[in-house]
């Protein structure tokens, strides 16, 4: 596929800060750096994974991309066009191309609006279809999302559906305009494992059938490996490592990615996968404000002299595999044992 090389979405030096509110006197007011100069490119037609632990800024990235919030610095480009600060009509037009599935299926539906009207809302607001035509399109979308008979789901309220069903409905709502980019924010983090696999297959189907690009946000290396073509690993708003999913997960170069892999339960024949032990048990005192590596405080390999003073640059570890660590080296390719060792959730 030649189109697979085209960039559909680009984040350029994106920074987002949040002001946490202190008490009445303004004491305890702190600034959280949710995203720190993140740059990455997502190619058309791929499933791109954004991996990180809780609080690493994944949802923030998703919200910036669909235009729910504005970055403090940097640019976000869809097909080469800067989308930061779009408003009104332009923003609405943009949302025909970019949609989102939210993390919590219990909170992302209006309890007073039927499934039919929730899923059909984009059709109305975008002036695509109304009346009977709209209802038929909604039913078709629900069927595509694996809810059949669709008629029996369409005329219910959200609280009459299970979490997994709601997440299917959320995918139907997001895909009803056939957007070119779907941001899926941990669509399975609130569901149990058996349901996750079905949602994953639905996402694979979305990409296969409609050729949509998917930005898949997750905290789990296992699901990233199952779904993604490429992944980016972020830690507290800092991009750590980016590359082809198989390569990054089987052969992680960054101590943080290595720590994530250590923490992932494995089963099957996994003796060949080493433990990296790169995570400090206790955090070290912070490096001097802002400079230095974002992972310094928890990194087992860090050297104070260098890592607390100098931010690491991205360096190539292999074909399209970049890593931001002073001490990462392009390691030997792992023996091909991936088929037998499985990662758990």
């Amino acid at each position: 596929m030649s189109s697979a090389q085209e960039t559909i979405l680009e984040l350029r030096q994106v920074t987002k800060r949040y002001q946490t509110r202190g008490n009445i006197l303004g004491r305890g007011k702190k600034e959280v750096l949710a995203l720190n100069r993140i740059s990455l490119q997502v190619r058309a037609g791929e499933i791109f994974g954004l991996v990180g632990e809780s609080g690493s800024g994944k949802t923030t990235a998703g919200r910036l991309i669909v235009g729910l919030e504005k970055p403090d610095e940097g640019g976000i480009f869809l097909n080469g066009q800067d989308i930061v600060g779009l408003q009104g009509k332009a923003l609405r037009r943009y949302r025909r191309q970019v949609q989102m599935v939210f993390q919590d299926p219990y909170q992302s539906f209006n309890p007073q609006v039927s499934i039919m009207d929730s899923v059909g809302e984009p059709l109305l607001t975008q002036g695509v279809a109304k009346g009977v035509e709209r209802e038929q399109m909604v039913l078709a979308a629900l069927k595509e999302a694996g809810l059949s008979p669709a008629e029996s789901y369409a005329f219910r309220f959200p609280h009459q559906l299970s979490g997994g069903q709601r997440q299917r409905v959320a995918i139907a709502r997001a895909m009803i305009l056939e957007p070119s980019l779907l941001v899926a924010d941990e669509p399975t983090s609130m569901l149990d494992a058996s349901y996750s696999a079905q949602i994953f297959d639905l996402l694979l189907g979305v990409r296969g059938r409609l050729g949509a690009t998917v930005l898949f946000i997750t905290h789990s290396l296992a699901s990233a490996r199952y779904l993604c073509d490429r992944v980016a690993v972020i830690y507290r708003g800092n991009l750590m490592e980016i590359g082809p999913a198989q390569e990054v997960i089987r052969n992680p170069r960054h101590p943080y990615t290595q720590a994530l892999l250590d923490a992932t339960p494995k089963f099957g024949r996994c003796e060949d996968i080493p433990r990296f032990n790169t995570l400090l048990r206790a955090e070290r005192p912070a490096a001097d404000s802002g400079v230095g590596c974002g992972f310094f405080r928890r990194c087992g390999l860090a050297q104070r002299a260098r890592c607390s003073m100098e931010a690491p640059e991205f360096r190539a570890m292999g074909e399209g595999h970049l890593c931001a660590c002073h001490y990462a080296e392009p390691g030997p390719a792992q023996a091909d044992q991936g088929g037998e060792c499985h990662l758990g959730a």
Binding site: L68, M100, F102, P111
Partner: protein, 309 residues
Amino acid sequence: MNQQAAMDLRQARRSLWRERLAEDWRVFRRNPLGRIGLTLLIMFGLMAVCSYIPPMINPMYNPMTGVDPHIMASTGPSARHWLGTDFMGRDIFAQLLAGARVAFMVGVSAAFMAVVLGTALGMTAGYMGGLTDTLLMRAADMIMVMPTLLVVLMLAALFGQLNIWTIVLMIALFRWPGVSRVVRAQTLSLKQRPFIDAARVAGASHPRIIFRHIMPNVLPLAFLYMTFRVTSAIVIEAALAFLGFGDPGTVSWGMMLQWVWKTGHMFQAMYWLLPPGLCISLITLSFYMLGRAMDEVLDPRLRDETSAG
């Protein structure tokens, strides 16, 4: 695609709402307060509807202008006048029925206006935030601390006799702040909920978010407040009328009480004093009970929706 399918869909949509209503009704019916309140209200409703009948039977039963030609003073109950007559020979029962009509008219329309105003302003303040919010809420505070009855009394003293609709309007204007505070608080919390973000991503404009997504979630609360507002509107109108500032062209229960008092029958004619007094107490009580019962219908639903959905 075809006619049949479209029909089925319409039907399915209708049955969806029917089910929801049926469920609410079941919860409501289990509540004894609600049952009593509703029964009483239906009785008062019947009274209001029946108020048109006596004047049709005989013009002397007209509550305002009908005078029994044979009676010159207040008389007790008889076959001809079930509850007796007032000081100039007007039928008290006919007046009582007419009073029910006025009570509903005043109570419901004043409450409705107050709630519409309060909901609109509360949602606007909560959704827009910033300066709009501050200005609206300061205005609400100022109005809220004014004693409604006193202010209306002063206005009545200034402008002379007030028309019944003027009274309704003034009650509405003084009674929206309470509603708007509650609606604003609810709007503030709704605004933060993820489904609002989802609606924005679905392309919903601000008006659409307010009316399609926030309003259905505050309306039940607004309706609940409406029942309490009805109570206060009826009481205020009755008090005004009793104090002699009512609309002289209407027969309200407060007006009847004023006539009893002004003509010196306060403790001489129980058949005249008690019925309007009881009616005022019972109708306010029944709206209050209705509100409490609705509160209970609403509460589990609100609870469901905020926790598990």
